[in-house]
Symmetry: D2
Subunit: 374 residues, 4 copies
């Protein structure tokens, strides 16, 4: 039975033959987690068979604290601790996401890269959180910086994994390291944000009302443990930018395709992808488990002091990068299958000849060429 | 057939007999939209029958611009314009949400109130967007302000609707009005944020992995037109606060119930409600349709200038408040039904006697009393 | 707004422009049901827009008796009677099925024809219900008769609608008429069966475990009011036929395609269509509402006598033929969309070269030709 | 990790501590299938934790023939043969069904017993397949026999398992044994039917339109491999019985509850359970794999002869009895959870006081007593 080793914090290049291993840094707890995944079913000779792919990991959740909310919900809880509330649960997402990523790459050339964009107050310099300065002055509103757009256009997983922080901007990465070490030394923890870009997504993905593409992405990201926020494109910052600056004008790209000059929209308009790069940002809170003593109460309300034993990650954001990528892959894969199914169903019908031109999509340049040849 | 009049921007108090009407302010386009909703089925004598409730509005989408992404998606588009990409689509959400709200109030005493927390750069003073000052100094991190917590605890729909901006803080509301008027006068538009609080939610709602309560809320909010971001509890700001400050210590409340002293979590932990107030923030971009001329391109890529005719809302955030409340109601209702179903199913089984005490939820104070009497 | 008139008992040829009208016979209650269907949304210029198609009928359920099981279920019931338990509910199925039928015909050339195969004990002669004669004698087991196979291969809707009974076999139809008149004259009712054939379904439809194609068809058919049984292919009769006779040997058809010589399987093997004609039989009980007095009890258990007033159909089977066709269309449409989505997704991947020949579908004759040309 | 041994043909009494073992008879192929099921998750100390229950069997499908329809569907197939088209797939159903059965018994006292009602032409004498004798004579229509009703009321799993055929009627069982041996000796196979009764189901289960209780049961049963037909209550036979005989009059039962005198309906009316015993019949075709040589064709259409090697079950019907019970359990469990959720949600609302009495369910006798005491 084939196996591979996708730790929750590990990226790998292939569903069937993953080779990369997790490069533990001194920023996160060293773990001897031999996360072998057994491919139980659905794959032979590296080819999927169309039947369900069963993945089994040979590890069990580490003993950890029990969640009050779990007890409230179920009335009982696992003796071994948090169970599914442990972030170890995310291994299933990463393993499944790897299969989706591989399909997206092979069938559509889609690339998904996430990276750490802030740790605590240490931010990538060219994509700052919004600063309120003079609320009546729109002129000082800084645009989407060229550096940030360029980063989104070019960043690779190799560049990201080259830094222990998984922040591909070296100078920022070093300041992040200091920030994490400071948290570690004070027996404390710190959060951060991850930015993810999806390149090569065709226009037309996403459903128009309840299952807008950004809604599905937000759902997926907020289902990752410890997340507190989600922004698509310009995000909260975009709420402060006047429409005249925020609108993305349409242009014809150099390759002849239609597109937009700027990308405040983040590649999605009206819930549907427009062919530009999709990018979004996810906020992770500071880890709850810290080693310093904290005042709290027992289940019956008796006040007391709690100090976690053992070693704890002061910052989980670098480890969450592959999880963000995996969840993005699963969302894009779902939407691609839906939209391709719709297009296939429509393609089997006779051509539409009765609609006025304003109601029909104009043929693309390449289609025009083909048609004139016939 | 009973009818009522829930404009997308209208709040009403009862599914069967709505009485309130939309107070158009001079901040938004006056519209003569008699949004009568016909109750087609499922209700008689003000009582639901258990069968589907059919709601029919007697209006049709106003002619508006066509979306490029729609054409890309479907290949054809409605002649009348945006169709379902029009925010007029949200009337169905508000009508359905009204039924959910009524149930939540009657059956569980749950209250849901949303309000405008920022317009452009004009923010509620006591819930500021995070400001990066000294990235190495944790001491200046301001806490969740008492004013903000008090507002969440007490704000009513009457207070919100008392302001044309739907911002219940008077001084801020006046500055918001100025900001909106400035956008209007410059033929431009401006975005903003809405904060929503859900009070009285029992502990235990939400599913532990993919359908965490915050994930369902994020999905619902990002499905509202023009939204760009979602934050639960401390949100992105919480990513900058060390764990030792961000953790919410457990305390026994005055009424004997367990709870938390602070509420950075926003009422949800590990994806499951903990009984504290749930609050979240939603970002809305500046409206795309503005009256000033914009450089853009036609479908075939030819550059040109576009200036929208007619009157357009310079800021839609005040109108979106009831939509946020409606979507929150639908999410909470779904999760309540799920969790109550689970609890009912479990309650029919014999009592659990074989588990060690650490695996079972301790009986509440009131249950203890009952048991000792027996 | 376009309208059309698909009574529950009416067939029509086109979703957008139905022209046929219900030919009421003297066998069923004359009804002045102007079942106009309004196309509320999703269609313009006879073309679907990709958005939901809203269909609204302008009639309401006729007053009728209330169902005890509804009261048990919901605790309350509609004042107007059976509500959704009325067979009038099926109009929605027929209207939606018409759209599916049109797609199946246009995109795949699939034809669906149902007909009445028995009324009471009056059966089509060449597809008899199984008769137990000598349980130790397998030799007398009659095969699938050539007449029955020929009927399945050729029967048209015109032939079916040409008979008041919707049984295309004239001699049998006349005996059925006598049987129905006998029920009518004795203020009684009688049931019957409908056989349905689906021609032109490609191989590969249906899911392998829980959603086998016959399981989906059974679900759909048993959801039609008054149904009591479902058989696919040889059905219950097939349980008495030894495997050596029941197995359908593979043959190469005259057009070069693979197929089976007999068709006991009814076009489905292992839950998946095999390209042969799919046929199944549905049993309808005798209508419950009859005019003769019946002994029964009131809600509180007090015995009493009930005699329905008004006119009642003594046999609803002829009216149910379009409903069976509609539900079959919806099931086949769903499965086609699913399977075509799967095939499209696979087609975008590079060709499989690493599998041994025994694991890959051999290329078809036409594909072979193409490949050798390259 | 706890394990238990539920062969697909094995019944067991408890999810957590199954003790019974499969009593292989000389009628079915002896198999040394140590079907240990590992409880991977969701259970501790014999108590479910509310989290998903993972069940893993440590066996793999036996090599068997490949299905043509699978190749058509997926384009590729597993090298090891039928894969999920093997009836070995049903072990998952039986294991999951055992958990549902246990809940139904503990929480509601529901009992589910299935038994073999025919093998080939050998039928239980008092529930014969319909015989067409004189199609104009309704008087000779035999009723639901008292023996059959008594059997449904009393039959136990012990009685069923006491016979190698799993037919609890001794004389019939012996004739069935002879029939199966005859099939075996002639290297052939034979089919049969299974009847299943569900006792103690409360009124109100099932959804009114598409998910009628009988529709869900039909779906579940037709998803079992080799099934060809499904009948609820009187089934196809009921189509020949006039309404005046087929209607089930309401009576007050001895325990004061409302019920019906006869039970042609099979415990379901209008898609919703009425509190009477639910019973249905499922038809299984003769197994396809037989040892005698058969004329057929290869994948490319070349004619040839196929004779299966190895030992094959001449009749699988006795082995399918636990599968029918398991699928019935899963359907009833789903519907119970749905209906109890609905009732719980309604119970939290204030009492209904505004409806006329004809629209409200009358209070039961016991409720009346309680109310008069207050």
């Amino acid at each position: 039975m084939p196996t591979w080793s996708p730790s929750s914090g590990t990226r790998y290049s292939s569903a069937a033959q993953p080779k990369e291993t997790w490069r533990a840094s001194n920023l996160t707890t060293p773990r001897d987690e031999k996360d072998l995944v057994q491919l139980q079913s659905g794959i032979e000779h590296d080819i999927t068979l169309g039947t369900p792919i069963g993945l089994l990991t040979d590890l069990y959740p580490r003993p950890s604290h029990a969640d009050w909310t779990y007890l409230e919900k179920y009335g009982v809880k696992a003796s071994s601790g948090g169970g599914r509330s442990s972030a170890r649960e995310t291994i299933g997402r990463v393993a499944a996401g790897a299969i989706a990523e591989k399909y997206l790459k092979l069938a559509h050339g889609i690339e998904i890269v996430a990276f750490v964009s802030s740790v605590g107050k240490v931010h990538l310099p060219f994509a700052p959180a919004s600063q309120v300065v003079d609320e009546d002055d729109d002129t000082i509103e800084d645009p989407l910086s060229p550096e940030f757009c360029e980063l989104l256009r070019t960043v690779t997983r190799e560049q990201v994994d080259g830094q222990a922080t998984r922040c591909p901007h070296l100078e920022t990465s070093e300041r992040m390291i200091k920030r994490i070490i400071r948290a570690k030394e004070s027996l404390d923890s710190i959060g951060g944000t991850i930015t993810c870009v999806v390149r090569g997504v065709p226009a037309g993905l996403g459903e128009p009302v309840f299952d807008k593409l950004e809604a599905k992405l937000a759902h997926a990201m907020l289902s990752i443990p410890a997340t507190k926020g989600f922004e698509i494109g310009s995000g909260f910052r975009g709420t402060q930018v006047p429409g005249s600056k925020h609108n993305d004008p349409f242009v014809k790209h150099e390759d002849g395709s239609m597109g937009t000059k700027t990308n405040w929209s983040g590649g999605i308009q009206g819930g549907i992808s427009n062919g530009e790069n999709i990018y979004f940002r996810v906020g992770f809170k500071s880890p709850a488990t810290i080693s310093q003593a904290q005042q709290t109460a027992q289940y019956d309300g008796t006040p007391g002091t709690l100090a976690a034993r053992g070693r704890h990650d002061p910052c989980v954001v670098p480890r969450a990068v592959p999880i963000v990528e995996a969840m993005a892959s699963l969302v894009i894969m779902d939407q691609l299958l839906l939209q391709n199914a719709r297009k296939t169903a429509a393609s089997l019908l006779p051509p539409i000849t009765t609609l006025p031109p304003t109601m029909v999509k104009p043929p693309s340049e390449s289609q025009k060429g083909k048609e004139s040849q016939q």
